[in-house]
Symmetry: C2
Subunit: 386 residues, 2 copies
Amino acid sequence: MKKALSGVKVIDLTRVLAGPFCTMMLADMGAEVVKIERPKTGDDSRAFGPFLKGESAYFMCLNRNKKSIVLDLKSKEDIEIFKRLIAKADVVVENFRPGTMEKLGIGYEELKKVNPGIIYAACSGFGHSGPYSKKPAYDSIIQAMSGLMSITGQPEGIPTRVGASIADIIAGMYTAFGILAALYFRQVTGVGQKVDVAMFDSVVSVLENAVVRYFVTGEVPTRIGNRHPSIAPFTSYKTKDDYIIIAVGNDRLWEAFCRAVGRPDLLEDERFKTNKDRSMRWALLDEILGEVLKNKTTEEWIQILEEAGVPCGPINTIDKVVKDPQLLARDMIVKTIHSVAGELLVPGIPVKLSETPGKVETPAPLLGEHTEEVLRTWLGYKKEQG
Amino acid sequence: MKKALSGVKVIDLTRVLAGPFCTMMLADMGAEVVKIERPKTGDDSRAFGPFLKGESAYFMCLNRNKKSIVLDLKSKEDIEIFKRLIAKADVVVENFRPGTMEKLGIGYEELKKVNPGIIYAACSGFGHSGPYSKKPAYDSIIQAMSGLMSITGQPEGIPTRVGASIADIIAGMYTAFGILAALYFRQVTGVGQKVDVAMFDSVVSVLENAVVRYFVTGEVPTRIGNRHPSIAPFTSYKTKDDYIIIAVGNDRLWEAFCRAVGRPDLLEDERFKTNKDRSMRWALLDEILGEVLKNKTTEEWIQILEEAGVPCGPINTIDKVVKDPQLLARDMIVKTIHSVAGELLVPGIPVKLSETPGKVETPAPLLGEHTEEVLRTWLGYKKEQG
């Protein structure tokens, strides 16, 4: 079946997370992604545990649908092969520290000479310009510097890192978006270009309204735990066995909620009449509702509140997430069969296209698994040459 | 100057966050985004504080570069106008609860009749299929149900919501990516399609390796605070005046770090010889390093560690983020001049394209500001008709 990006050829120099996440998005939509890996070790993340029959699960979940070829970019001969591949490619993606590609003699200016229409995408910590450009960056440093940690966490606690490497991933997503914008433009005009995405910029752009809130009020946004800044009750509570999160977004839901939890008396309480009242007295409200909600299990409350039409949900741990019927119905947990590791379940593709659905078709490649195939099909090499 | 998506016409029915974030990404890249708002109140978020001269800062930061027209989608006449606009559009985006568009008589099947090439993008809480499809969803409920909260927070603390509405935003980003993939496919083949993105699927897809880690090891990933699961020291520490985050990724950096902080004796300590040793004894290490790092200010430590080449950074609050020289150099804080509210600084555009740079050119529109203009230029209405 045809895919949205069928026929798009991507040369992928990326390693570890941000870049591989980007090229996974392209591969999932049908682009032919050829991962160029260095001899012997390949992508650093091939060494990240946990391992399944010696194969990195970390690597396998990010590199499905891709091909792997081995090239030594420090060898003149392989640089020539690399440039011949670039001449055939639509897109090249890298997430080296800025300057690395130039040192290898394959910066954008150089590659443009080989293929003027090439889309060159660079995903880095701080971007290809500005005073921090060459600084090393890791997800946690970017989460810290961007302000995200300062607004994440409990009010009485310390700034908190998001438990997934969201800085890498968001930058990877923006890079994929930028590549497609550039690809569309090239399809219309024939003109290629460079896409430069920084993790730092990316995270700042998703701080939601924290930035404008600060500019308008002068108050520095801080950590408010799990609650909503201006709606209550809209937070998490302990139940008899676990936690629950509820979202009582308006007065109608407040009424439904109070009746459902057996506290219609709260509806008469002047202190909680309107959302404004409740929001102002959120601490008192949390105390009262905490006493109520601790009396039943999460499952019991969810049944009761859902029947009453009150938005709510469990705080799932990963073992529950992967069995969730909605996610299973949406093909969000899919099986790959790796040639060495065997069966591995990985997260599916969240972008559902009606005519050209993405699919996890091939497992992550072995190091260099497709060297011969790609050199033959892209460059016409015969077996003995490759 | 030409932009990557110049000429792409987007009809935007979205409200609040996920959808408007998606159409902002398209507008920032040059698409003509026409926001359809209901009479009198418009997008709900126009009522979200804080306000600047009566205008919502929340709305203004998400709706720059867009046009606004007022249509009443419950009126037959306006539905006709809406369909005439659809006939001229490339893309339509909505983030209603699934089923709403069908009730209004403008579901995908209906709009396809008007414009077979239309790209119809829907961004919802749980998606347009599956048992939860019609359930109400809010960012915090999705953060809870997806597992993200279960892995975010301090080990001794409770599951923690990310301080920005990351579930909405990531879904909006995927929707924008899906639209461009579909647009590219349409450019090549002429075929339109539906893009269906769920917040729930989206967040599960960015849990990084938590899902495969669970499948491979059988252990349920949990909250580990700010540290790295398998590298140490790679976490945050208190300093004399604030916090610092450090990322000592290998033994070479460990040596540089110990010398820089004046504790070369730790290099001789058998308990901390290799990363494996340090990672195993992270709690002991944190105690020792906490004692060291509390003796100087964050700024002092950053100067010392940067000189030694050790990756590190401050945990910035928003007031510091918006003044950061790197972000300013990258145009990540930009000025808009709103016709009523006046000057407002908003986050810039993180996708930097060399040939067709995005730009924040116009401020968020007033409700219905472009009704006359759009009906005239898209449909040829004369002033008295519009």
